[in-house]
Symmetry: C2
Subunit: 406 residues, 2 copies
Amino acid sequence: MYGFSEFSVYAENPIEEEDVVAERLEMQGKKILKLNRGDPAVYFPTMKYMIDAYVKALREGKTRYSDFAGIRPLREAVAARYRRLYGTNVDAEDIVITNGVSEALMFINSVLINKGDKAVFFRPYYPLYIPDLKINGGNPIIERYSEERNWEVDTDSLERSIRKDLKAKKRLKYLVITNPNNPTGTVLEPNALRELVEIAKNHDMVLISDEIYDEITFNGAKYTSVSKLAEGIPHIILNGASKDFDATGFRIGFTIIPGKDNVSKELRRRIAEYAKLRLCVNTPAQYAVAEGISNVSEHNKGIRKLVAEIERRINFAAKRINESQYMSVVQPRGAYYLFPRLDMKAMKFKDDREFVDKLLKEKDVQLTRGSGFGEPGHIRIVGLPPKDILETALNRIEDFCKAHSR
Amino acid sequence: MYGFSEFSVYAENPIEEEDVVAERLEMQGKKILKLNRGDPAVYFPTMKYMIDAYVKALREGKTRYSDFAGIRPLREAVAARYRRLYGTNVDAEDIVITNGVSEALMFINSVLINKGDKAVFFRPYYPLYIPDLKINGGNPIIERYSEERNWEVDTDSLERSIRKDLKAKKRLKYLVITNPNNPTGTVLEPNALRELVEIAKNHDMVLISDEIYDEITFNGAKYTSVSKLAEGIPHIILNGASKDFDATGFRIGFTIIPGKDNVSKELRRRIAEYAKLRLCVNTPAQYAVAEGISNVSEHNKGIRKLVAEIERRINFAAKRINESQYMSVVQPRGAYYLFPRLDMKAMKFKDDREFVDKLLKEKDVQLTRGSGFGEPGHIRIVGLPPKDILETALNRIEDFCKAHSR
């Protein structure tokens, strides 16, 4: 009998939801300023030494299936990087290479979630965490970061919500943190991380830390990977080549499960079985990323320049936003997004969705609505474009706000 | 509370299940003849014109996110190929590029299957169809190809099973055919395909045709894609670059849903939403495959040589197998596998699993057990290696059978 699965309706990606409208406008000859997708490779070319390694792999015939968990040189490079940067107790056997972090999320949810299970997120959250949970029949528990306190995590409030609902407690499977944060740019302090580890431990939740922007911190932020603090409790570290290595189109993610406990062991085993079902990840790209990580001096040259440039662009944009009477933003210290609060009372919009809809149609600027991140009344602006494009976009946004002011 | 999902135990891949043992033997200095993985790129280099296109894309900076459905030139090339080869009524909008066919299977099962739903397969089946169904809570209905009649499909028996269980009928979601077949090498005749289309239509099942080996046919077989015959009913054609284009490590699959009916429309829409969740497929590889398909004359030169060589190797191996008193095989006409029946009564093995286990340990030859394909008492041999390796492996298998004969 024809019909579709109950949970498949939950597949949705707010970051791309305006793409159809944008494409239509482009076909009418308009030039859209796209500040919706966080793709560094659009503005900064992927480094030549990585491209060279990719080409070398292709010329050497590395075009066949590789190991389901990823080629060993890449897994060893990822482990060595975490040991070197954060002192993490991890080796190649703890790592599965995935088709980006996205595939890791699919595997993790399918491995952990039964219908009715729950997982904890903080809003604003990266939107693509939620659909994979719901597709597997799970439900999110959404806690808040505190915008008043620079989007810091409120662990007391989290503890209270968990204790309030003892029945839900039994169904709690995992807790996700994104550090540095997308969309707010917050970098979590060691104390907050310690509290989160404690909560995950107390409530037998797997701690999942998405660290895809870990080398992109600035404005004096000092980065701590939770992998060092979480030793002894089951946790999963997600990372990849897309952001730190400026290679979004390679689709290479790292799923790291360093724990020596039985839950971690079983997690590793089941995720490996899922990885076998799709045979392997693009083989030559893995060689490129292995070189990308292993050649530390080349990488450091590139990432320093990249981060310095991102810092300039983000700070320029943040200053302009905070000069507006319609918006205000907490200064980001990592990643490359700005997540301003809109003064909705000062403007005639029903909600943030109407704001981004109209902005695209009237001003040819594509953003993402805050409600897509679980935080209505906000917008996400990608801060990667050069200053002149950012300036043009911000001027248009300001004009737009004025034109729709009360 | 720590714990794993009910259905995640169903993730398993019998083709790789001996890899750990094989790796251990290799570490002891043994050289394993691996006839378990169907990877043409191990024996035949991917064609240079495709590598050149891949390198060109990398040098041109095509390292960023691409469209969730795949780059337009690739989708257009896939559509044009089906129109040219089979007269299929299809265009670029009907196609989603996936991380191999494997990812397509994950999407399809998650989109179609509710707990308790059913899908129909014929045994022997490609093993990786089943786990994704079960992970989503579905159950397979396994019909038989008839080995006595050269592994032809028995549609009468299929009709009887469906009619027998009217309650199950309401839960039937899809019917899968693999043409050319892995592991038997059967190429389905137009009449059989017409009957299958009729059954899918009568019972409102989505027809799924895995055509990944469609250009690898020989021994006089004439290939028919069901896409021409299935016009008007909801169906999905799966294909990709791995086999016909000898590029397994690229991980580029094609999911083709050409129907103009409402079920097909909704299928396309929901699969697109899943594709958005993982952003995109490796970008530069898509350019390589777009060129791989579009440059028909280069491709034809390559595929003709490849198929001629495969035909020689398969026929050599089939002849040797049929000379054995312990095995017999139906002559393959497509793909590159041999699926011999073992004369279990003539040998002292409990089952085919024990056969492949001991063969690996005693003779350093790795095969896959027939029970992994739903067909006990058989083995699958990959017929891709050069004649001398095939001969060595077949000699060892023959010695092994003799040594264990009753």
